[in-house]
């Protein structure tokens, strides 16, 4: 085993940076509230894994989406549990990010030189909301459909850009199968991709600037 890791390290040279990351000291005044960011990241990973499982059975099509949800809940072994797990993780993800934001605010950790990391965090928060909004349509039931209908109608009231924004979100004049595919791709591809990039930047900055200690 040791030989294998040595061989990997000779190729990737990951030992030194990881050692520096793992053995860095934590400043004084750090308490359990500082876990909230880590909790949010753990929830993101859980969402990613349960989402990957759901994507195997979910069919993002106008005619089959609702039936595929029924199949996940009734026929797929533990399908109902994975769907429930994904839903609950998503709710707690929002809670964890909001609480983490409040923690950073209270401990003044947004101050110079960490301005950019605060902005990255804000964008992650916005992406999480966008993920919730797009994910809500995917069951393709009565509630999902009309919630998206109302939500995208709101986009139309934006001055100047409104009508274009609404058309762009719906992929047409009305909420149809085109909207479903759009929201599906945004939910499973675009948002996770940008989320990973932003999280990388977020953690990179934490690594370089260190954790801001207690008050």
């Amino acid at each position: 085993m040791g030989k294998f890791f040595e061989w990997l390290d000779r190729n990737f040279r990951i030992k030194k940076p990881h050692r520096r990351f793992l053995y860095r000291s934590i400043p004084e005044g750090v308490n359990y509230f500082f876990c909230l960011g880590g909790i949010a990241f753990a929830l993101f990973i859980l969402l990613f894994i349960s989402g990957m499982m759901l994507a195997i059975y979910y069919v993002p099509s106008e005619n089959e989406a609702f039936a595929s949800i029924l199949r996940i809940d009734n026929e797929v072994r533990f399908g109902w549990f994975i769907r429930s797990f994904h839903k609950w993780s998503a709710n707690l993800f929002i809670v964890a990010i909001v609480l983490h934001t409040i923690r950073v605010f209270v401990y003044k950790a947004y101050r110079h030189p960490r301005e950019l990391n605060w902005i990255a965090g804000s964008l992650i928060l916005i992406l999480a909301f966008a993920s919730g909004f797009t994910g809500y349509l995917l069951p393709w039931d009565q509630k999902a459909y009309w919630a998206t209908e109302v939500g995208t109608t709101m986009a139309r009231t934006v001055p100047l850009l409104g009508p274009y924004l609404c058309y762009f979100l719906r992929g047409g004049q009305d909420v149809t199968g085109a909207t479903l595919i759009r929201f599906y791709v945004i939910h499973v591809l675009y948002i996770p991709l940008f989320m990973c990039l932003l999280l990388w930047a977020h953690f990179h900055l934490v690594k370089h600037q260190g954790v801001k200690g207690g008050l």
Binding site: S25, I69, S84, Y110, R114, E115, T157
Partner: protein, 123 residues
């Protein structure tokens, strides 16, 4: 205890423990309260559904701006709120910076909490 803490193993073990408890919490909630299966889409009977709880503040806000003033509820206020959130490090400058930021932050959080509570209590 004055010893300096390291990320590994002191902090890592603590955070892993907390994450373990969170996973247990999700599993418990997921087993007890699975999401209900909705009804099939009926295009002929539109109804106004309630959004997810984290969008309720926006849902409640729009109710206060009927007609052409809706743009205040859908664009002006949410956009301002997001901009304020992003610009917090830059508002906190100078002597009274922290005071300004605390006022803005508390106002933002309080209004979201109050709007959400109204939406929950008065459907």
């Amino acid at each position: 205890m004055n010893r300096q803490k390291d990320f590994y193993p002191d902090y890592l073990i603590e955070i892993l423990l907390v994450i373990f408890l969170i996973v247990e919490l999700i599993v418990t909630l997921a087993l007890l309260y699975p999401p209900a299966i909705g009804r099939q889409i009926d295009f002929s009977t539109p109804f106004s559904p309630r959004p997810e709880w984290y969008f309720l503040w926006l849902y409640q806000l729009i109710r206060y701006f009927p007609g052409s003033r809706i743009v205040i509820g859908t664009t002006v206020i949410p956009l301002t709120a997001v901009l304020v959130l992003i610009l917090i490090p830059f508002i906190d400058k100078g002597k009274l910076g922290r005071l300004k930021v605390v006022i803005v932050g508390v106002l933002l959080l309080l209004s979201i909490v109050i709007l959400t509570s109204i939406a929950v209590l008065i459907p």
